[in-house]
């Protein structure tokens, strides 16, 4: 079994190598080869899963130590992997959704001349993401962490000839690097404190508490910084909306279902540290609560279907981060929501991709409308994903999101009311913006004229089976996963040995909360229907009041960044460049001039006598040393 673990990662890594180095020879087989290796990885994951299930709950772990990566004195970093229930959950999500999206891409990217690279990058992403969740220490995790960042960079900027894509890719990498500082400092701090940075070494309550709460808090905060970068949480959220420049399957896999949830993994994995650091946990829940509202509000204001969904992703991850910050009452539900979100959000993005595929990459929902008749499969699967995300009773999101709202209230005290209130409010806004998307896209009259009718738009048509099939599978997951996981609390029992679990006591009864959630959901749906279903949707966004305009501009995130970092930074750097040319260089030249006997002399030197001068200087130096040595010797 240990060798299977290595093979699991090796399969997509091999795919990436062959596809990226293979040149034109592999062009034809690229889509099938890439998908097959992703599938192989999933099969291996399933075998490992059944193996783990065969073991007693307390001993479900497989280790694989490959080689020593770096070894200096007492510092030892290994390329070693650790599979337990938490990483197993991620492996199945990553390879499962990953394989589906590879298959979908066979259809979606069929006409792109750089297909081979696309599948190579997707394989590279899978390998890096698997390293991230399977690493048995924080340094190897860092490798996967930056590896997925690279894959994300390459795929956001996949259409490099578009300046907007290239800019978005760069922005994503840079913002993520800011977060990476946190992870790097975390590793340094772990090593200087504990002498190791392996999970098995550090992640015990007794070990963490031996260092004191101050160290634990510092560790928690730098890990949170890292999580904010990768998971697009406030204040490092600004890259995710722009990341939608990438091909839509990429948005589904990397920027919705898997990579952006890595921050939740990091916090949950480091539960021993956060449990010992209440201040850090408070920071985590604040980030989560703020982001879940931030993303939801942005999601309400976007007309670009992918950007609206990106706002939603940010918001849903905010829920997960909030849950993870709650400690043992929330970890399991953070991961459960992560998995169900993986199904329905990937499904929603694939649906959006299917529409774009039919409409020549049109993303403006104001130019959609009435698509349910033209694209029945897309409508059905997207619709089920929609019901799942708004928490319609019985579907996946209902189970996972309600648990988080409940846990937030269970935190107790004023905090509990604030966090719970934010989570409830978020649920209402989610229902609003998702209904808005649903209505604008599928209902009403078509707001475009096809070429047959003398317009410019192509006739919408259903996507090919190779794209529809993955959407159907994801829709099935969106419907049933939540209920299946909750049946007999099986997801809880599966993860509990790793994350721990404790029941909280909500001041509001479960029944009341569920009822409140459903009422708020219906309110959100109703409002959206009133605004977009009962009236005509204008083809251009109307001029509106300032809060809406602000939301449309992502609540001013880019204006702020631009004013402070871009403009301020450029001015600072230009000033520094001038200082370098005049200040530093001038000072040194002045000294040199004084040594050389005045600046007029120096100017003369620069006009041509310099060689002889330089060599006379060198010769003089040699003479001096020879003379000195000679004198001493005599």
């Amino acid at each position: 079994m240990n060798s299977l673990l290595g093979l699991l990662i090796a399969a997509p890594l091999l795919g990436a190598a062959v596809l990226l180095l293979g040149g034109r020879f592999v062009d034809r087989v690229a889509p099938v080869l890439g998908s097959a290796l992703a599938g192989l990885s999933f099969v291996l994951g399933a075998i490992l899963f059944s193996n783990l299930l065969g073991k007693p709950a307390s001993g479900r772990a497989i280790d694989s130590d490959l080689f020593t990566w770096m070894h200096v004195g007492t510092f030892k970093a290994d390329a070693a992997f650790h599979l337990d229930q938490l990483s197993m959950t991620f492996v199945l999500l990553i390879t499962g959704v990953g394989t589906l999206i590879h298959i979908y891409s066979i259809g979606y990217m069929a006409h792109d001349e750089k297909r081979r690279k696309f599948f190579g990058y997707l394989n590279l992403f899978l390998a890096a993401m698997l390293i991230l969740v399977l690493a048995d220490n924080y340094l190897l995790l860092y490798v996967g962490w930056e590896g997925v960042g690279l894959a994300s960079y390459l795929l956001i900027g996949f259409w490099q000839h578009k300046p907007s894509a290239a800019t978005a890719a760069k922005k994503a990498f840079l913002v993520n690097r800011v977060g990476d500082i946190g992870l790097a400092v975390a590793v340094f701090l772990m090593f200087t404190t504990f002498g190791t940075f392996t999970f098995q070494g550090i992640l015990h309550p007794s070990v963490v508490s031996s260092a004191g709460q101050g160290k634990a808090t510092a560790l928690g905060l730098v890990l949170l910084l890292a999580a904010c970068g990768k998971s697009a949480q406030v204040p490092l959220q600004s890259w995710l909306g722009d990341a939608m420049e990438g091909p839509t399957p990429v948005s589904a896999l990397i920027h919705a279902a898997t990579m952006v949830t890595a921050g939740v993994y990091l916090i949950t994995r480091s539960s021993a540290i956060f449990n010992a650091a209440p201040t850090a946990q408070l920071a985590v829940v604040c980030v989560g609560a703020v982001t879940l509202l931030f993303g939801a509000i942005v999601g309400c204001a976007k007309d670009d279907i992918k950007k609206a969904l990106a706002g939603s992703t940010m918001s849903q991850i905010g829920y997960m981060i909030l849950a993870a910050g709650l400690g043992p009452i929330g970890y399991v539900f953070a991961i459960m929501h992560l998995v169900t979100h993986g199904f329905f959000k990937a499904g929603l993005f694939l649906g959006a991709g299917s529409i774009m595929h039919a409409r020549e990459d049109e993303v403006d929902m104001r130019k959609y409308g009435g698509l349910w008749k033209k694209m029945p499969w897309t409508f059905a699967t997207f619709g089920l994903g929609y019901l799942a995300i708004i928490g319609f009773p019985g579907l996946s999101g209902f189970f996972s999101k309600d648990k988080i709202i409940e846990a937030a209230f269970a935190k107790g005290g004023t905090e509990g009311w604030i966090l719970g209130g934010a989570a409830l409010l978020g649920a209402a806004i989610t229902a609003y913006y998702m209904s808005r998307i649903m209505v604008m896209t599928f209902f009403g009259k078509p707001r475009y004229t096809t070429k047959a009718e003398g317009g410019t738009s192509p006739e919408a048509h259903e996507s090919p089976a190779v794209m529809v099939a993955p959407m159907v599978v994801l829709a099935v997951g969106s419907v049933f996963a939540g209920g299946f996981f909750s049946l007999g609390s099986r997801f809880l029992h599966w993860l509990e040995p790793v994350t721990g679990h404790s029941e909280g006591h909500s001041p509001v009864s479960t029944g009341v909360l569920t009822a409140a959630t459903i009422v708020l959901m219906l309110l959100g749906m109703g409002l959206a229907w009133f605004q977009y279903g009962m009236r005509e949707v204008p083809a251009a966004a109307p001029r509106s009041i300032w809060p809406v305009r602000l939301a449309r501009r992502d609540l001013g995130q880019d204006d702020f960044n631009h004013a402070v970092f871009v403009r301020g930074g450029t001015r600072f750097a230009d000033g520094l460049a001038e200082f370098d040319a005049k200040g530093v260089d001038g000072a040194v030249r002045g000294v040199a001039g004084a040594v050389g006997g005045g600046s007029s002399r120096l100017r003369k030197l620069q006009n041509g006598y310099v060689r002889s001068y330089a060599f006379s200087m060198f010769g003089g130096a040699v003479l001096i040393v020879a003379a000195t040595l000679f004198m001493r010797a005599v």
């Binding site: 280790d63 020593t68 990566w69 770096m70 070894h71 200096v72 007492t74 510092f75 340094l139 930056e146 590896g147 960079y153 490099q160 000839h161 578009k162 300046p163 290239a166 890719a169 760069k170 990498f173 840079l174 690097r177 800011v178 990476d180 500082i181 790097a184 400092v185 340094f188 701090l189 090593f191 200087t192 404190t193 504990f194 002498g195 190791t196 098995q200 070494g201 550090i202 070990v207 031996s210 260092a211 160290k215 750097a573 230009d574 520094l576 460049a577 370098d580 260089d585 040194v588 040199a592 310099v610 330089a614 060198f618 130096a621 001096i624 040393v625 000195t628 040595l629 001493r632 010797a633």
Partner: protein, 531 residues
């Protein structure tokens, strides 16, 4: 007497320099082939040196010692430790690669005055001369012997910078720059290079003399046991350190580097930053730390702060450069900051990391600079603004440039990450605030690399780039080994660390230092139990 392997390793390129330089100017092909032959022979010898070196054995191995100027105790004394071995090997690996990349850089231009250019034999001969001098500087265990070659390598370097500028394929494109202007700029840059380094050398010379006056020896092993008064040790240390900090270069003594790298050919620029400058950082490890441990510890706070300034300053200035080669030069200033940071962290993570950093930086900068050179010679301009959309017309060039760039920003999986991590860890172990300040450099590194890539390679294809050709077979032969090394050392740097670690151990004992212990060590039962 055993076979003088170290002498021969330096003598072969020296002989090659003389022979290549002496060939008649008309026999260009023969000169190139001869030079390449000698460079490859040197590589074989360096490999033999590496193979014969026993990590964990005596501190200096393969030693040779002959009396030279007995009156002043100057000896012709050679020996290598693990640090010198990997740097000799790096030099020997890079030279043939640089030569292959520069294959046509000294060819006479199709048009223009012929007397303006020196023959190819001189160009390649000067490169071999530099290689010989650098190798002997790495091997010297006599301070005076080291000093001579430390200074002497300025001469061929000066002629390489001043005499041979970037050559463009075909016509000089629309750069608005006459040949005369660029040659004036070039000789100015060469002069600046020379003045800075001569000044450093003069200060060091005084310190070398003072060292002899105080300790009556030039032999490194003997000097390690010498006792200097605190004041003398500190003054002499400062003299040495000044020269090495000019060469490395350390802020604020860096201003010669951008000009020198910007005006010379890509190959020469690689020789400056990847080979010659390494002598400066190497010498800090060998001479400053080992001969003046007390003074090194005394100066550490200042040097660490200067190193952090170099890291951030170089990186920020790289972002705003308009010229590709100057951008890479400022990036190198940032990287030298990292190397010096590691050296003066005064612990084994820092020093092993710094040594590994020298190797990795040599490879990654060579890759980035040489590919940039291919790009620049095609377009006839080094201005970033003259490029755009190159990935569309030359995907292999753009792809390899991106890999070299990612190595430069220290992406995990590529070689520079391992060394940068070790250096930063070492700095953090010394003073957490310094480590954290230096880590911020990784964001700026990402910024200058990705901005460079975006502006040159992505977007719509610019005019003047449309007909750009992708890498030729010769150029791929230059790039491929560098890429392979970046990948291999990124995944498996341990072979280098195995050679370097014991030597760092010697330095640590010379410093009377031990690595800091963890503040709250994990109990053995939990840590060691699982494996």
């Amino acid at each position: 007497m055993s076979f003088p392997l170290l002498t021969v390793t330096a003598a072969v390129p020296a002989a090659g320099a003389v022979i290549t330089g002496a060939l008649p100017a008309a026999r260009r092909g023969a000169a190139k082939a001869t030079a390449m032959g000698f460079a490859l022979a040197t590589l074989v010898l360096a490999a033999v040196v590496t193979g014969r070196f026993r990590p964990g054995g005596a501190q200096y191995q393969l030693t040779e010692s002959h009396s030279w100027i007995p009156a002043f105790g100057v000896r012709y004394q050679l020996g290598v430790d693990g640090i010198a071995v990997v740097l000799v090997l790096l030099t020997a690996v890079l030279l043939p690669v640089v030569m292959l990349a520069s294959w046509h850089d000294a060819d006479l231009p199709a048009e223009g005055p012929k007397d303006k250019r020196r023959p190819a034999g001189a160009f390649f001969g000067l490169m071999l001369a530099i290689e010989a001098m650098v190798i002997i500087a790495f091997e010297a265990t006599d301070v005076f012997l080291f000093y001579i070659f430390f200074e002497a390598m300025l001469i061929p370097m000066y002629f390489l910078i001043g005499g041979f500028g970037q050559k463009y394929e075909g016509r000089r494109a629309a750069v608005g720059d006459s040949a005369d202007e660029s040659s004036v700029r070039r000789s100015r840059a060469a002069v600046k290079f020379l003045l800075y380094n001569l000044l450093g050398g003069l200060v060091m010379l005084a310190a070398v003399v003072a060292l002899y006056v105080n300790a009556h020896s030039f032999s490194v092993p003997a000097l390690q046991n010498a006792h200097l008064s605190t004041t003398a040790e500190r003054l002499i240390f400062l003299g040495f350190m000044f020269a090495f900090a000019v060469k490395a270069p350390l802020w604020p003594l860096h201003t010669w580097l951008p000009g020198a790298m910007g005006e010379s050919t890509a190959g020469t620029a690689v020789l400056i930053t990847a080979v010659v400058d390494k002598v400066g950082t190497f010498a800090m490890l060998r001479f400053c730390l080992q001969l003046f441990p007390g003074a090194s510890a005394w100066a550490t706070p200042v040097v660490l702060v200067l190193a952090v300034i170099s890291i951030l300053y170089g990186a920020i200035l790289a972002v705003v450069q308009k010229d590709i080669k100057r951008l890479i030069a400022y990036a190198s200033i940032s990287h030298f900051g990292f190397i010096i940071l590691g050296i003066f962290a005064l612990n084994s993570r820092g020093q092993s990391g710094a040594t590994l950093y020298m190797v990795n930086h040599g490879i990654s900068t060579a890759a980035l600079m040489l590919i940039a050179g291919f790009l620049i010679s095609r377009r006839g301009s080094a201005l970033i603004a003259d490029f755009g959309g190159v990935q569309k017309v030359a995907p292999i060039l753009a792809g390899t440039f991106l890999v070299a760039g990612l190595a430069t920003l220290s992406l995990p999986g590529l070689a520079p990450f391992t060394s940068e991590f070790l250096v930063l860890l070492g700095a953090f172990e010394h003073t957490p605030a310094i480590g954290v300040a230096a880590v911020v450099g990784i964001v700026f590194a990402a910024l200058y690399v990705l901005v460079l890539y975006q502006r040159t390679m992505t977007g719509p294809v610019k005019d003047g780039v449309t007909a750009l050709k992708d890498l030729k077979v010769r150029e791929i032969a230059v790039v491929a080994p560098l890429m392979a090394l970046l990948l291999f050392l990124g995944v498996y740097p341990q072979p280098v660390l195995n050679v370097v670690n014991p030597s760092v151990g010697h330095t640590m004992s010379a410093l009377h230092k031990q690595d800091p212990k963890p503040t709250h060590p994990v109990a053995e039962a939990i840590n060691g139990g699982s494996r």
